[in-house]
Protein backbone atom coordinates (compact mmCIF):
# COMPACT_ATOMS: atom_id res chain seq x y z
CA UNK A 1 0.00 0.00 0.00
CA UNK A 2 1.45 3.34 -1.09
CA UNK A 3 0.78 6.10 1.42
CA UNK A 4 0.92 9.80 0.60
CA UNK A 5 0.86 12.45 3.30
CA UNK A 6 -0.62 15.70 1.99
CA UNK A 7 0.09 18.89 3.94
CA UNK A 8 -1.53 22.12 2.74
CA UNK A 9 0.52 25.06 4.01
CA UNK A 10 0.08 28.81 4.05
CA UNK A 11 2.75 30.90 5.78
CA UNK A 12 3.99 28.00 7.92
CA UNK A 13 7.70 28.60 7.33
CA UNK A 14 8.41 28.58 11.09
CA UNK A 15 7.12 25.07 11.69
CA UNK A 16 6.86 23.20 8.38
CA UNK A 17 10.37 21.76 8.62
CA UNK A 18 9.78 20.32 12.10
CA UNK A 19 6.39 18.93 11.03
CA UNK A 20 7.98 17.17 8.05
CA UNK A 21 10.90 15.88 10.13
CA UNK A 22 8.49 14.44 12.71
CA UNK A 23 6.71 12.22 10.18
CA UNK A 24 7.33 8.49 10.60
CA UNK A 25 9.65 6.83 8.09
CA UNK A 26 7.89 3.49 8.41
CA UNK A 27 4.27 2.70 9.11
CA UNK A 28 2.72 -0.71 9.56
CA UNK A 29 0.89 -1.65 6.36
CA UNK A 30 2.53 1.01 4.18
CA UNK A 31 4.96 -0.12 1.49
CA UNK A 32 6.08 3.43 0.76
CA UNK A 33 5.49 6.84 2.34
CA UNK A 34 5.67 10.01 0.27
CA UNK A 35 5.04 13.56 1.45
CA UNK A 36 3.47 16.35 -0.59
CA UNK A 37 3.39 19.91 0.70
CA UNK A 38 1.01 22.24 -1.09
CA UNK A 39 2.35 25.74 -0.65
CA UNK A 40 -0.74 27.92 -1.04
CA UNK A 41 0.87 31.19 -2.13
CA UNK A 42 2.80 31.73 1.12
CA UNK A 43 4.71 34.98 1.42
CA UNK A 44 7.24 33.60 3.92
CA UNK A 45 9.85 30.83 3.53
CA UNK A 46 7.35 27.94 3.49
CA UNK A 47 8.23 27.03 -0.11
CA UNK A 48 12.00 26.83 0.43
CA UNK A 49 11.60 24.91 3.70
CA UNK A 50 9.15 22.47 2.10
CA UNK A 51 11.48 21.89 -0.85
CA UNK A 52 14.25 20.93 1.59
CA UNK A 53 12.23 18.38 3.56
CA UNK A 54 9.27 17.08 1.50
CA UNK A 55 9.36 14.53 -1.32
CA UNK A 56 7.16 16.70 -3.52
CA UNK A 57 6.04 20.32 -3.39
CA UNK A 58 3.01 21.65 -5.26
CA UNK A 59 3.09 25.40 -5.43
CA UNK A 60 0.19 27.83 -5.87
CA UNK A 61 1.61 31.10 -7.17
CA UNK A 62 -1.23 32.95 -5.43
CA UNK A 63 -3.19 32.15 -2.28
CA UNK A 64 -6.36 30.27 -3.26
CA UNK A 65 -7.55 28.92 0.07
CA UNK A 66 -7.27 25.76 2.15
CA UNK A 67 -9.82 23.80 0.09
CA UNK A 68 -8.07 24.56 -3.18
CA UNK A 69 -4.76 23.47 -1.63
CA UNK A 70 -6.33 20.18 -0.58
CA UNK A 71 -7.72 19.56 -4.09
CA UNK A 72 -4.26 20.26 -5.55
CA UNK A 73 -2.73 17.92 -2.98
CA UNK A 74 -5.15 15.14 -3.96
CA UNK A 75 -4.42 15.64 -7.66
CA UNK A 76 -0.68 15.56 -6.97
CA UNK A 77 -1.12 12.35 -4.93
CA UNK A 78 -3.01 10.71 -7.81
CA UNK A 79 -0.27 11.82 -10.17
CA UNK A 80 2.53 10.18 -8.19
CA UNK A 81 0.41 7.07 -7.65
CA UNK A 82 -1.13 6.48 -4.26
CA UNK A 83 -3.47 4.06 -2.50
CA UNK A 84 -4.15 6.07 0.64
CA UNK A 85 -3.80 9.77 1.39
CA UNK A 86 -3.41 11.17 4.88
CA UNK A 87 -4.03 14.86 5.38
CA UNK A 88 -2.24 16.77 8.11
CA UNK A 89 -2.30 20.42 9.17
CA UNK A 90 1.00 22.23 8.67
CA UNK A 91 0.89 24.02 12.03
CA UNK A 92 2.08 20.98 13.99
CA UNK A 93 -1.16 20.39 15.89
CA UNK A 94 -1.45 16.77 14.74
CA UNK A 95 0.54 13.99 16.31
CA UNK A 96 2.13 11.97 13.46
CA UNK A 97 1.98 8.85 15.64
CA UNK A 98 -1.78 8.81 14.96
CA UNK A 99 -1.24 8.20 11.23
CA UNK A 100 -0.85 4.47 11.75
CA UNK A 101 -4.19 3.98 13.50
CA UNK A 102 -5.84 6.39 11.07
CA UNK A 103 -5.02 4.26 8.02
CA UNK A 104 -5.79 0.86 9.54
CA UNK A 105 -9.58 0.90 8.80
CA UNK A 106 -8.75 1.63 5.13
CA UNK A 107 -6.12 -1.11 4.92
CA UNK A 108 -8.62 -3.57 6.45
CA UNK A 109 -11.22 -2.28 3.93
CA UNK A 110 -13.57 -1.23 6.71
CA UNK A 111 -13.64 2.42 5.63
CA UNK A 112 -13.00 4.71 2.66
CA UNK A 113 -12.59 7.85 4.75
CA UNK A 114 -11.29 8.01 8.31
CA UNK A 115 -11.62 11.21 10.29
CA UNK A 116 -9.23 11.80 13.14
CA UNK A 117 -11.62 13.20 15.70
CA UNK A 118 -10.49 15.53 18.46
CA UNK A 119 -13.94 15.68 20.02
CA UNK A 120 -14.05 12.24 21.63
CA UNK A 121 -11.30 13.46 23.93
CA UNK A 122 -11.39 17.24 23.77
CA UNK A 123 -9.27 17.73 26.90
CA UNK A 124 -7.05 20.79 26.47
CA UNK A 125 -9.12 22.20 23.63
CA UNK A 126 -10.23 25.77 24.37
CA UNK A 127 -13.95 25.90 25.27
CA UNK A 128 -14.69 28.31 22.42
CA UNK A 129 -13.20 25.81 19.97
CA UNK A 130 -15.26 22.97 21.41
CA UNK A 131 -18.41 25.05 20.95
CA UNK A 132 -17.34 26.17 17.47
CA UNK A 133 -16.64 22.60 16.36
CA UNK A 134 -20.02 21.31 17.53
CA UNK A 135 -21.72 24.27 15.84
CA UNK A 136 -19.89 23.40 12.60
CA UNK A 137 -20.94 19.75 12.93
CA UNK A 138 -24.58 20.85 13.09
CA UNK A 139 -24.09 23.26 10.15
CA UNK A 140 -22.48 20.44 8.15
CA UNK A 141 -25.41 18.15 8.90
CA UNK A 142 -27.92 20.82 7.86
CA UNK A 143 -26.16 21.65 4.59
CA UNK A 144 -24.79 18.25 3.52
CA UNK A 145 -26.68 15.63 5.52
CA UNK A 146 -23.35 14.12 6.61
CA UNK A 147 -22.46 13.68 10.28
CA UNK A 148 -19.19 13.43 12.14
CA UNK A 149 -18.19 14.38 15.69
CA UNK A 150 -15.35 16.46 14.22
CA UNK A 151 -16.21 17.65 10.72
CA UNK A 152 -13.50 20.33 10.89
CA UNK A 153 -10.61 18.02 11.71
CA UNK A 154 -7.66 18.49 9.39
CA UNK A 155 -6.35 14.98 10.02
CA UNK A 156 -8.00 12.44 7.78
CA UNK A 157 -7.18 9.35 5.80
CA UNK A 158 -8.76 8.89 2.39
CA UNK A 159 -8.69 5.83 0.17
CA UNK A 160 -7.93 5.96 -3.54
CA UNK A 161 -11.51 4.91 -4.27
CA UNK A 162 -12.80 7.92 -2.31
CA UNK A 163 -10.30 10.24 -4.01
CA UNK A 164 -11.54 9.15 -7.42
CA UNK A 165 -15.24 9.44 -6.55
CA UNK A 166 -15.44 12.71 -4.63
CA UNK A 167 -16.03 15.90 -6.58
CA UNK A 168 -14.65 18.62 -4.37
CA UNK A 169 -15.14 22.23 -5.31
CA UNK A 170 -14.83 24.15 -2.03
CA UNK A 171 -11.84 26.47 -2.04
CA UNK A 172 -11.94 27.67 1.56
CA UNK A 173 -12.19 25.91 4.93
CA UNK A 174 -15.63 24.63 3.99
CA UNK A 175 -13.81 21.76 2.26
CA UNK A 176 -13.80 19.93 5.63
CA UNK A 177 -17.60 19.80 5.66
CA UNK A 178 -17.74 19.15 1.94
CA UNK A 179 -15.71 15.94 2.33
CA UNK A 180 -18.21 14.70 4.93
CA UNK A 181 -21.05 15.56 2.54
CA UNK A 182 -19.31 13.89 -0.39
CA UNK A 183 -18.78 10.73 1.63
CA UNK A 184 -22.54 10.55 2.07
CA UNK A 185 -23.33 11.46 -1.55
CA UNK A 186 -20.87 8.90 -2.96
CA UNK A 187 -21.97 6.26 -0.43
CA UNK A 188 -18.45 5.95 0.96
CA UNK A 189 -17.83 4.24 4.28
CA UNK A 190 -16.71 6.75 6.90
CA UNK A 191 -15.16 6.00 10.27
CA UNK A 192 -13.77 8.04 13.11
CA UNK A 193 -10.62 7.46 15.11
CA UNK A 194 -9.81 9.50 18.21
CA UNK A 195 -6.60 11.53 17.89
CA UNK A 196 -4.56 13.69 20.23
CA UNK A 197 -4.03 17.32 19.39
CA UNK A 198 -0.87 19.20 20.26
CA UNK A 199 -1.95 22.65 21.38
CA UNK A 200 0.85 25.18 21.30
CA UNK A 201 0.51 28.97 21.29
CA UNK A 202 1.43 28.79 17.61
CA UNK A 203 -1.17 26.17 16.62
CA UNK A 204 -3.85 27.92 18.70
CA UNK A 205 -3.17 31.18 16.85
CA UNK A 206 -3.46 29.41 13.49
CA UNK A 207 -6.93 27.91 13.89
CA UNK A 208 -10.10 29.13 12.24
CA UNK A 209 -11.91 32.03 13.86
CA UNK A 210 -15.50 31.74 15.00
CA UNK A 211 -16.43 34.54 12.55
CA UNK A 212 -15.16 32.31 9.74
CA UNK A 213 -17.95 29.86 10.60
CA UNK A 214 -20.49 32.27 9.08
CA UNK A 215 -18.46 32.35 5.86
CA UNK A 216 -18.23 28.57 5.79
CA UNK A 217 -21.97 28.19 6.38
CA UNK A 218 -22.79 30.63 3.58
CA UNK A 219 -20.45 28.87 1.15
CA UNK A 220 -21.83 25.44 2.07
CA UNK A 221 -25.35 26.65 1.35
CA UNK A 222 -24.14 28.09 -1.99
CA UNK A 223 -22.55 24.75 -2.91
CA UNK A 224 -25.75 22.95 -1.88
CA UNK A 225 -27.92 25.28 -3.95
CA UNK A 226 -25.72 25.45 -7.03
CA UNK A 227 -25.04 21.70 -7.06
CA UNK A 228 -21.99 19.83 -8.22
CA UNK A 229 -19.90 20.75 -11.28
Amino acid sequence: MRLTIVIPAYNEGKVIASVLKSLPKKIKGAKSIRTIVVNDGSIDNTLSEAKKHAHHVAHHVINLGAGAAVITGFEAAKKIGTDVVVMLDADGQHNPKNIEKLIQPIIKQKADIVIGTRMLNSKGMPAIKVFGNWAMNVMTYITTGGWSTDTQSGMRAISRKALDRMQLQAVGFEYCSEIVGEARRCKLKMKEVPIQTIYTDYSKSKGQSIINAINIFTRLITIRLTGKK
Binding site: I36, V38, H56, A58, H59, H60, V61, I62, L64, A68, I71, T72, E75, A76, K79, I80, G81, V171
Partner: protein
Protein backbone atom coordinates in the same frame (compact mmCIF):
# COMPACT_ATOMS: atom_id res chain seq x y z
CA UNK B 1 -31.85 65.76 -0.47
CA UNK B 2 -31.48 67.02 -4.06
CA UNK B 3 -28.38 69.02 -3.10
CA UNK B 4 -26.90 65.97 -1.37
CA UNK B 5 -27.50 63.86 -4.52
CA UNK B 6 -25.76 66.51 -6.63
CA UNK B 7 -22.78 66.66 -4.28
CA UNK B 8 -22.45 62.84 -4.21
CA UNK B 9 -22.72 62.64 -8.02
CA UNK B 10 -20.02 65.29 -8.52
CA UNK B 11 -17.79 63.71 -5.89
CA UNK B 12 -18.08 60.26 -7.54
CA UNK B 13 -17.55 61.75 -11.01
CA UNK B 14 -14.36 63.53 -9.90
CA UNK B 15 -13.15 60.35 -8.22
CA UNK B 16 -13.79 58.09 -11.22
CA UNK B 17 -12.38 60.56 -13.76
CA UNK B 18 -9.22 61.18 -11.73
CA UNK B 19 -8.76 57.40 -11.23
CA UNK B 20 -9.23 56.61 -14.92
CA UNK B 21 -6.83 59.46 -15.81
CA UNK B 22 -4.29 58.08 -13.33
CA UNK B 23 -4.62 54.60 -14.87
CA UNK B 24 -4.36 56.02 -18.39
CA UNK B 25 -1.18 57.95 -17.50
CA UNK B 26 0.37 54.75 -16.15
CA UNK B 27 -0.70 52.86 -19.27
CA UNK B 28 -3.01 50.58 -17.33
CA UNK B 29 -5.97 51.79 -19.37
CA UNK B 30 -6.40 52.57 -23.07
CA UNK B 31 -7.24 56.03 -24.42
CA UNK B 32 -10.64 54.73 -25.59
CA UNK B 33 -11.59 53.50 -22.11
CA UNK B 34 -10.32 56.71 -20.50
CA UNK B 35 -12.47 58.81 -22.87
CA UNK B 36 -15.50 56.52 -22.43
CA UNK B 37 -15.48 56.72 -18.62
CA UNK B 38 -14.72 60.45 -18.61
CA UNK B 39 -17.63 61.25 -20.95
CA UNK B 40 -19.95 58.82 -19.15
CA UNK B 41 -19.30 60.44 -15.78
CA UNK B 42 -19.51 63.98 -17.16
CA UNK B 43 -22.95 62.98 -18.47
CA UNK B 44 -23.97 61.45 -15.10
CA UNK B 45 -22.83 64.57 -13.21
CA UNK B 46 -24.64 66.82 -15.72
CA UNK B 47 -27.92 64.88 -15.36
CA UNK B 48 -27.58 65.08 -11.57
CA UNK B 49 -27.03 68.86 -11.75
CA UNK B 50 -29.72 69.55 -14.36
CA UNK B 51 -32.29 66.74 -14.07
CA UNK B 52 -34.82 68.75 -16.11
CA UNK B 53 -32.85 68.01 -19.27
CA UNK B 54 -33.70 64.33 -18.90
CA UNK B 55 -37.48 64.91 -18.68
CA UNK B 56 -37.60 67.22 -21.68
CA UNK B 57 -35.52 64.75 -23.71
CA UNK B 58 -37.76 61.81 -22.73
CA UNK B 59 -40.93 63.79 -23.42
CA UNK B 60 -39.63 64.65 -26.89
CA UNK B 61 -38.61 61.05 -27.60
CA UNK B 62 -41.77 59.37 -26.27
CA UNK B 63 -44.03 62.25 -27.36
CA UNK B 64 -45.84 62.11 -24.01
CA UNK B 65 -45.23 62.83 -20.33
CA UNK B 66 -43.00 60.28 -18.66
CA UNK B 67 -42.94 60.04 -14.86
CA UNK B 68 -39.89 59.83 -12.60
CA UNK B 69 -40.86 56.26 -11.65
CA UNK B 70 -40.31 55.12 -15.23
CA UNK B 71 -36.74 56.48 -15.18
CA UNK B 72 -35.98 54.96 -11.80
CA UNK B 73 -37.42 51.61 -12.93
CA UNK B 74 -35.41 51.60 -16.14
CA UNK B 75 -32.26 52.60 -14.26
CA UNK B 76 -32.75 49.71 -11.79
CA UNK B 77 -33.25 47.17 -14.57
CA UNK B 78 -30.16 48.44 -16.36
CA UNK B 79 -28.03 48.41 -13.19
CA UNK B 80 -29.15 44.91 -12.19
CA UNK B 81 -28.36 43.64 -15.66
CA UNK B 82 -24.88 45.22 -15.58
CA UNK B 83 -24.27 43.86 -12.05
CA UNK B 84 -25.31 40.36 -13.19
CA UNK B 85 -22.99 40.49 -16.20
CA UNK B 86 -20.05 41.73 -14.11
CA UNK B 87 -20.71 39.07 -11.43
CA UNK B 88 -20.83 36.27 -14.01
CA UNK B 89 -17.67 37.49 -15.70
CA UNK B 90 -15.79 37.88 -12.39
CA UNK B 91 -16.96 34.42 -11.24
CA UNK B 92 -15.84 32.80 -14.50
CA UNK B 93 -12.47 34.57 -14.40
CA UNK B 94 -11.97 33.52 -10.77
CA UNK B 95 -12.63 29.88 -11.67
CA UNK B 96 -10.30 30.04 -14.66
CA UNK B 97 -7.51 31.61 -12.60
CA UNK B 98 -8.01 28.95 -9.91
CA UNK B 99 -7.81 26.14 -12.49
CA UNK B 100 -4.64 27.61 -14.03
CA UNK B 101 -2.94 28.07 -10.64
CA UNK B 102 -3.83 24.51 -9.59
CA UNK B 103 -2.60 23.00 -12.87
CA UNK B 104 0.68 24.95 -12.72
CA UNK B 105 0.97 23.86 -9.07
CA UNK B 106 1.33 20.19 -9.94
CA UNK B 107 3.04 20.60 -13.33
CA UNK B 108 6.48 19.72 -11.96
CA UNK B 109 5.32 16.69 -9.99
CA UNK B 110 6.34 13.64 -11.94
CA UNK B 111 3.70 11.22 -13.02
CA UNK B 112 4.20 7.60 -12.00
CA UNK B 113 3.87 5.33 -15.05
Amino acid sequence: MIIATKIIAIFLAVMVISKTFYDYKRKRESLTMFLFWTLAWIFIAYVALVPGIFYSFATKMADQNVGTGTFVGLAFIFLFFITYRIYMKAHRLEQQIRDIVMRIGIKDIEEKK
